[in-house]
């Protein structure tokens, strides 16, 4: 018990140290603030905006293409729906898909990366060929073809993004595992009779975990952008509001070129940029903190 407590205390201290480093990291903090704001917005969506505002049949009495006003803070779209409601509810799907797809990417990428790096030999060779195969196929066409075959739904979009974006993660993690498994404490543990499961879960995984975390925050923006792209080419879930869907509908309705209804497409566009930017800033900050080589000082 004593040893475990010691470990816990050590971890808490290390976390506190990382956190204070993170707080000192200005761009990282800025990213975190923006991110927190959007997560709050997504969670509080039902309080801020009535989901009925997304329904076309509830918008029959509203003006079409209305400029922003006190009644419609971000104006209305071609069917009279409030753009503000679409923005608020869209943030949910965009963030949800981004995070879930990243989770999938991380799970696949970590398992493949650790297995490949740890076991080496034919497992490594086999897994790396598969990884390379995924890497050489152009990402977007593959995602589009898969999404088209599977049909449009939120879960399919998550699956498509996850299945197409794990190879980069797998390679980064494999490289780290290769270095970790040669370290003395792993050798020592193995000499003491530790099995594969113990070695990977107790020694390898904790040592690549920071890398996985940093990689995660850098993958989320890619996942969000991919979700937007798929929704924009009409392969998103047609029944759910997302920022990508808003952009697609704005484009299809002629808001962008013909009508210049900036209030329709700009919020979703700014939202995507802000969230992607925020994740990227956080990711780079984490990377710097967790990887001492990158830290200046």
């Amino acid at each position: 018990m004593g040893r475990r407590r010691a470990a816990r205390v050590r971890r808490r201290r290390s976390l506190a140290r990382s956190w204070s480093l993170f707080r000192a990291h200005t761009p990282g903090m800025a990213g975190l603030v923006v991110l927190a704001a959007f997560v709050l917005l997504a969670l509080a969506a039902p309080l801020i905006s009535d989901a009925g505002g997304l329904k076309v049949t509830h918008a029959i009495g509203n003006p079409q293409w209305a400029h922003p006003s006190s009644e419609f803070p971000l104006g209305t779209d071609n069917l009279g729906r409030s753009v503000a409601a679409q923005f608020v509810w869209g943030s949910r799907i965009s963030l949800f898909v981004g995070l879930m797809a990243t989770l999938l990417t991380m799970v696949i990428g970590s398992v493949v990366g650790i297995a490949s790096g740890f076991f080496g030999r034919w497992i490594d060779a086999g897994l790396m060929r598969v990884t390379e195969w995924f890497l050489v196929i152009p990402f977007l066409p593959l995602a589009i073809v898969l999404a088209k075959i599977l049909g449009p739904s939120v879960w399919n979009v998550i699956f498509v993004i996850g299945i197409t974006s794990w190879p980069a993660t797998a390679r980064v993690i494999r490289a780290q595992v290769l270095s970790v498994k040669e370290r003395l404490f792993v050798e020592r543990s193995r000499a003491l009779g530790a099995g594969t499961w113990h070695l990977t879960s107790r020694h390898v995984l904790p040592n690549v975990a920071p890398l996985i975390l940093a990689n995660t925050t850098l993958t989320v923006p890619i996942a969000i952008l991919t979700e937007t792209t798929l929704a924009f080419v009409g392969l998103g879930d047609p029944t759910r509001a997302s920022w990508g869907k808003t952009l697609e509908e704005a484009f299809a309705a002629g808001a962008v070129i013909g009508r210049n209804a900036w209030w329709y497409y700009l919020p979703a566009g700014v939202g995507i940029i802000a969230v992607v930017m925020a994740f990227t800033l956080c990711g780079h900050a984490l990377e710097e903190i967790l990887n001492p080589k990158l830290r200046e000082r």
Partner: protein
């Protein structure tokens, strides 16, 4: 000769790039300047060969390239002389004798004789050319001399004396057997219409040149170019910049914007095109929900849809309501039905119909179940190639949810949709038709024999609906020579089809045309008072347009509508300018606010830094 309208929309950014590469060969710098009328289109031809093509674009090209025995008046589509100068019918209506003009020639200089007309009619009947067959199925043609064609029909045929199949040049076609014909491109064939096809780059453009030997005389315009745009926004931009002179593919959501352009005349015209919610009536192949085969469920669905709202909100009012499908470009054939017998918007009636027929929500999840306990969850096929699809699916889905029916939307391209319908693995879809002038082809599509029994070769009946009484009446109208009696029979047929509720007709759609009035004048609408001027039944616009003279503003032969469409626009233009000014200001404001906000965040965080370090 009815055909699906196939509006395309950009699916991928890649497609946008190819459209900008669609630049036809530059006109050779001749001594005299050539006048070229350039039309922007969304849909390319599928084939120029008359035995193969089905798209509206192909018909537009054929109308220019091929001669026909008779023409149609632009006023009311009544029969008019073309190659045939005059005709007489026998007392029993079975035999018609046509007198051809003297001195007709093909564009290659060969004489165009009665034999050529006879050749086309007989061969297209024998080989069942899909675009010709319904017109010539019962007809035998004979040339009694160079200028006389005698048509004998084995059955009374109310469509005669109209004979508008495209006459093909035997000097080319005699050398092609049925197999060779199906591979024939037809691009260099001699023509007999006002323009002759010269060049086609698939996905980019096709080019036609004025025919010197056209019987009405060489057209005023030297060349037609149809340029393919895959994206409506690019098309509109091309029209505004003068890259193209006209288009028939303006999206409904941009029409009001173009009204304010003083150099552009816009015209909304109808020639019978409509959109329908088709509900699988269950008489065809397939694995579908048994509830849709129940006419009561279909009627309930019809009552749940507010068509006036769809017209106002989705189509921006650029269309009209009609109780049943239109079968002709001319509104005289539309079903006349008292309001009480139409499917008015009435969700309570819809719910009551379902409730009484045993479709009750037994498990309180908001979706009704049929008497066997199967929830009313219907597959709804939505077209990826129309900008109307998404809003229509939104509206219809919400209204149906309101009466306890759930839809599962599947988005499909047109090429995927046709076999799916034939397969019968769906409950409903939204698509549209553009009928021909005579109602016969459109009516024929809903006969029992047109139901697909093989998804590989789909039939026309996409309602999967079959009614022996309708079939009997179809045969009757097809041989009824008394126009009034025929009209009555058609009304009766439309009523039967309406009552089946397998086609919930959402609205008639206007064709939205525009041309640059600073370049060309004298476009012709068909029918004059209500129709569009491009993609019409005869293509009179191409024969009549001419470049404007200095200082002249182009006019349209389209009745009263033109003044209404482009008049009184000064005020509108001013207010639009104001709008864009204020919106630019708001954009700048928004961006500035973002920058300031970001600045504050960075500043606050920067100030915190020393304190953290002191810790």
């Amino acid at each position: 000769m009815t055909r699906r309208r196939q509006h395309l929309r950009t699916a991928l950014a890649v497609a946008v790039v190819t459209s900008t590469m669609a630049v036809p060969a530059a006109a050779p710098a001749g001594a005299q300047e050539k006048s070229t009328f350039t039309v922007g289109v969304i849909q390319d031809m599928d084939a120029f060969n008359v035995t193969l093509g089905v798209t509206l674009s192909s018909f537009e090209a054929w109308n220019n390239h091929y001669p026909t025995l008779t023409d149609k008046s632009e006023d009311d589509f009544s029969v008019e002389p073309s190659l045939a100068e005059s005709w007489t019918g026998s007392a029993d209506g079975l035999t018609w004798t046509y007198k051809l003009r003297e001195g007709l020639t093909w564009s290659d200089g060969e004489p165009l004789t009665a034999e050529d007309v006879v050749y086309t009619i007989n061969r297209s009947r024998d080989e069942e050319w899909s675009n010709h067959y319904s017109t010539v199925a019962n007809i035998t043609a004979e040339a009694t001399d160079e200028l006389t064609v005698v048509l004998t029909s084995s059955e009374p045929d109310p469509k005669l004396p109209v004979m508008d199949v495209y006459i093909v040049p035997p000097q080319v076609y005699e050398g092609l057997d049925a197999d060779a014909l199906s591979a024939h491109k037809a691009i260099d064939d001699p023509g007999g219409g006002p323009f002759v096809m010269k060049e086609w780059k698939k996905g980019q453009f096709w080019r036609m040149e004025a025919n010197d030997s056209y019987w009405r005389g060489r057209p005023a315009v030297d060349e037609l170019i149809f340029r393919v745009y895959t994206n409506p926004d690019a098309l509109i931009a091309a029209l505004k910049s003068g890259e193209i002179d006209a288009t028939g593919d303006i999206p409904a959501n941009q029409f009001d914007l173009l009204k304010n352009e003083s150099d552009i005349t816009v015209i909304a015209g109808n020639q019978g095109g409509f959109n329908e919610l088709s509900i699988n009536a269950g008489d065809g192949l397939g694995d579908f929900h048994p509830a849709v085969a129940d006419p009561i469920v279909r009627r309930a669905i019809a009552h749940a849809i507010d068509r006036q709202t769809l017209l106002d909100r989705v189509l921006n009012g650029l269309g009209s309501l009609t109780p049943a499908m239109s079968t002709s470009a001319s509104p005289e054939w539309d079903l006349v039905l008292p309001e009480a017998e139409q499917y008015g918007f009435d969700p309570d009636t819809a719910r009551q119909l379902l409730e009484d027929a045993g479709y009750v929500d037994t498990d309180d999840d908001g979706v009704r179940e049929d008497p066997d306990g199967r929830p009313l969850e219907f597959r709804y096929l939505s077209r990826s190639e129309s900008e109307l699809s998404a809003p229509l699916a939104d509206f219809i889905g919400e209204w149906l949810k309101d009466i306890g029916i759930e839809i599962k939307i599947e988005v499909l391209s047109d090429t995927q949709l046709t076999p799916r319908i034939a397969e019968g693995t769906y409950e409903m879809f939204v698509w549209g038709w553009v009928p021909y002038v005579d109602p016969d082809p459109m009516l024929s599509y809903f006969t029992c024999s047109e139901i697909s029994d093989d998804p590989e070769s789909p039939g026309w009946n996409d309602a999967n609906w079959c009614d022996p009484e309708y079939d009997r009446l179809y045969k009757e109208q097809n041989r009824e020579l008394d126009p009034e009696r025929r009209h009555e029979i058609v009304q009766e047929m439309l009523k039967i089809f309406h009552d089946s509720a397998s086609y919930v007709v959402l609205f008639k759609t206007d064709d939205l045309n525009a041309f640059r009035n600073d370049r060309f004048t004298d476009v012709v609408c068909e029918p004059t008072e209500t129709g569009p001027f491009l993609f019409t039944n005869t293509g009179k616009t191409y024969q009549r347009i001419r470049p404007v003279e200095d200082g002249e503003t182009g006019s349209a032969d389209c009745g009263e509508r033109v003044a209404a469409a482009s008049g009184g626009d000064a005020g509108d233009t001013a207010s639009t300018a104001d709008d864009s000014g204020s919106s630019a200001g708001l954009v700048i404001g928004l961006v500035a606010a973002l920058v300031v906000l970001a600045g504050i965040v960075v500043f606050v965080l920067a100030k915190r830094k020393p304190a953290d370090e002191r810790e």
